[in-house]
Symmetry: C2
Subunit: 406 residues, 2 copies
């Protein structure tokens, strides 16, 4: 079994990099803090005897050799980037759980047939650069390298330039890196395991998501002198659209979730009627047909709100991540490991996207969830217990060992 204290201490050490303002982290993808976090991870892996490779999307692979050099590695991993007001566990747990697996194998002098690998994927969060999981997406061939490099943040800085700047644009071509099986450990980020009092979620798949960007354009005018019937107020229209988007989730209960996370008002002046509003829209559902219907509902709500009042609306679907099912053998490996260790467990579908979703297109894949307090994530208050995290790490160790023997 893994070393619970060592895993916890490493998590707390990493959390010192890019501290938030309320006990969590702000370690945005490809920021200086992201570089520091990567450097620390690489140093720890080298100290554990691993060799390091980095691909052109900045994905990092730390390898512990197996006895059969011809075999592809059994790989685990997740991401080190966080939300602007993120927690200490989202992503980081999956990376440091992988490191703890390697340290445990070293402690006990265990030799595996296949190499064992820990990976760090660039810009999983999709917060600084949209879409989410873009670098595992390039790895899996869903996006091409140019697309990956050209994603820009709100200031126009691109992933390609920022990778160069922080020194993590590697040589390897993304995807030219065979993987025998992939496992990702992660906090659930939702309330189900806690409510069901289970320690381990055996993740069988993930719901689909569609991300949109909308720009509503009305007309700037004076807040004091423009009669109500002469206004084209982009924020009034945007606000009705936010309400309609919320209602789309309620109309597709119980599984639909919809969110407007980002909104920029222009010119954003107290006494000028807003001339334009940019907003992002995130629609999710486990069923693909329902998700498509939700998109139609969004499009008709947008037209219904904007057209009659002369607001021009551009609505672009910038990302589609279909619902996915993980590999049955890998899922079984997780379930067996949880059962053997005696952890209470249940099957679960992920509400969030994860790098494992894209890796599942090119390698047999599964995920392991552990509970987090109140199901809260993407919040600095995100919390998980050392015991649950160690349990997830133990399941990871044994699932990987099962797949790393010939």
């Amino acid at each position: 079994t893994v070393n619970q204290d060592r895993l916890w201490d490493s998590l707390m050490e990493m959390a010192k990099i890019g501290p938030g303002i309320a006990g969590g982290n702000c370690r945005l993808a490809l920021s200086d803090f992201d570089r520091e976090g990567r450097d620390l991870f690489v140093r720890w892996c080298q100290e554990a005897g691993c060799s390091i490779t980095v691909d052109k999307m900045g994905n990092i692979f730390a390898r512990r050799p197996g006895t059969d050099p011809s075999m592809a590695p059994v790989t685990t991993g997740s991401h080190l980037d966080t939300q602007p007001t993120g927690g200490k566990f989202d992503g980081v747990f999956g990376v440091l759980a992988g490191l703890e697996v390697i340290r445990t194998l070293n402690d006990h002098g265990v030799e595996t047939t296949a190499p064992v690998e820990v990976s760090v994927w660039t810009n999983e969060e999709g917060s600084r650069f949209a879409p989410a999981m873009v670098a595992s997406g390039v790895f899996a061939g869903v996006f091409d390298l140019d697309y990956g490099h050209s994603r820009a943040d709100i200031d126009g800085k691109t992933i390609g330039d920022e990778l160069e700047r922080i020194g993590y644009k590697g040589d390897e071509t993304p995807g030219e890196h065979p993987i025998r099986a992939f496992f990702e450990a992660h906090i659930e980020q939702g309330p189900i395991l806690e409510a069901e009092e289970k320690t381990i979620g055996v993740v069988t798949g993930a719901q689909g998501q569609r991300w949109f960007e909308a720009t509503l354009t009305g007309s700037e005018s004076h807040a004091g002198t423009t009669p109500m019937n002469r206004r084209k107020d982009a924020l009034v229209a945007a606000s009705k659209l936010v309400t309609a988007i919320n209602e789309i989730a309620l109309a597709n209960a119980p599984h639909a979730v919809t969110t407007v996370g980002m909104m920029q008002v222009s010119p954003n002046s107290r006494n000028t009627i807003p001339g334009s509003v940019f907003m992002t829209i995130d629609l999710r559902h486990p069923d693909d047909a329902t998700l498509s219907r939700m998109e139609e509902e969004l499009r008709s709500a947008c037209a219904g709100i904007c057209d009659p009042v002369g607001i021009a609306a551009e609505l672009e679907n910038i990302w589609y991540s279909p619902p996915i099912s993980f590999d049955p053998d890998c899922v079984s490996a997780v379930k067996n490991a949880a059962g053997t260790a005696g952890y209470g467990n249940m099957d679960i579908i992920s509400g969030a996207g994860h790098d494992a979703c894209y890796i599942s297109r090119v390698a047999p894949t599964a995920m392991i969830f552990v509970p987090c307090e109140d199901g809260v994530s993407h919040n600095e208050a995100e919390s998980a217990t050392p015991q649950d995290l160690a349990a997830g790490c133990n399941v990871l160790l044994h699932a990987m060992l099962e797949r790393a023997s010939a």
Copy 2:
């Protein structure tokens, strides 16, 4: 009569400072561009033989002496700051019309009994620093100097520090500057004169306004994993409030106008449920009792939206500018001047606040409006004709002359 071309050329020259992106101006209060605009104005006034004084709020006075040194000046003026996407005429016209009056008096060697003065008031727009008209408010004793100096922009920079930085924190104590009568020429910024085909608006008063800041606080959480019934989405609540605020105007038709001009979403990340939203609210009505009732409607809408869903709402009334009536004698001077010159004119109430509103508390005051195209202002497309502007300037000249004789 004034020199139409010279007035127009001066307006176009000033508009080169702080150009916008669509033909208008971005010359925010106390920015480097504001300094450049002030410097140009001061130079022009000195070339016209005026003496300059500046007060501690950065208000500038350019004086042309009269024959009776014991008399207080007849003063005109407005502001040089603009909205982030402002026009070439809002404020600037009133300042340069004043300069054109002085140049015209010089051309014809006219001596006045009282001195004639042109003033520039700091931060009239209220866009970079709230509230609007803050420096004429300090001049009129509505705000104290500390309040004026401590107003901060969104980056925390204060009026006091920015005045110091651009070299316009003068020595004079605001208000210790007697004014015999005050006239402000301005574009209407609304559609009424154009619709009624009148060249001159004889402004009899201004409607009241109440400005608010609201902060709604919910709870950040993951957009994919947080069930709809566990969300405290600050943006969903804020959006309902925007809609309710719009409805308050419609419920108090025909004269009420309400605007949410500014909104900041936090953490503003695509896949995080917004934890908090800051927004500004601008309510206006010519009748004070109705304006108060609109505030009550706002407060109850805010509580009705936020309380049931556990969103904490702070709603602060940061500014109240009551409806005002201008001085009957000054209003008559404007009406007479317009009539004598044969300009079509009508009485009108200002929908916008103006420095004249505060100056009217300490000196007999009136205003002169000229039409602007489609009534559009606070928009780079703001437009007015050289003829109408010269007409307004002529009315200003003759109203000032009437009040500058013993």
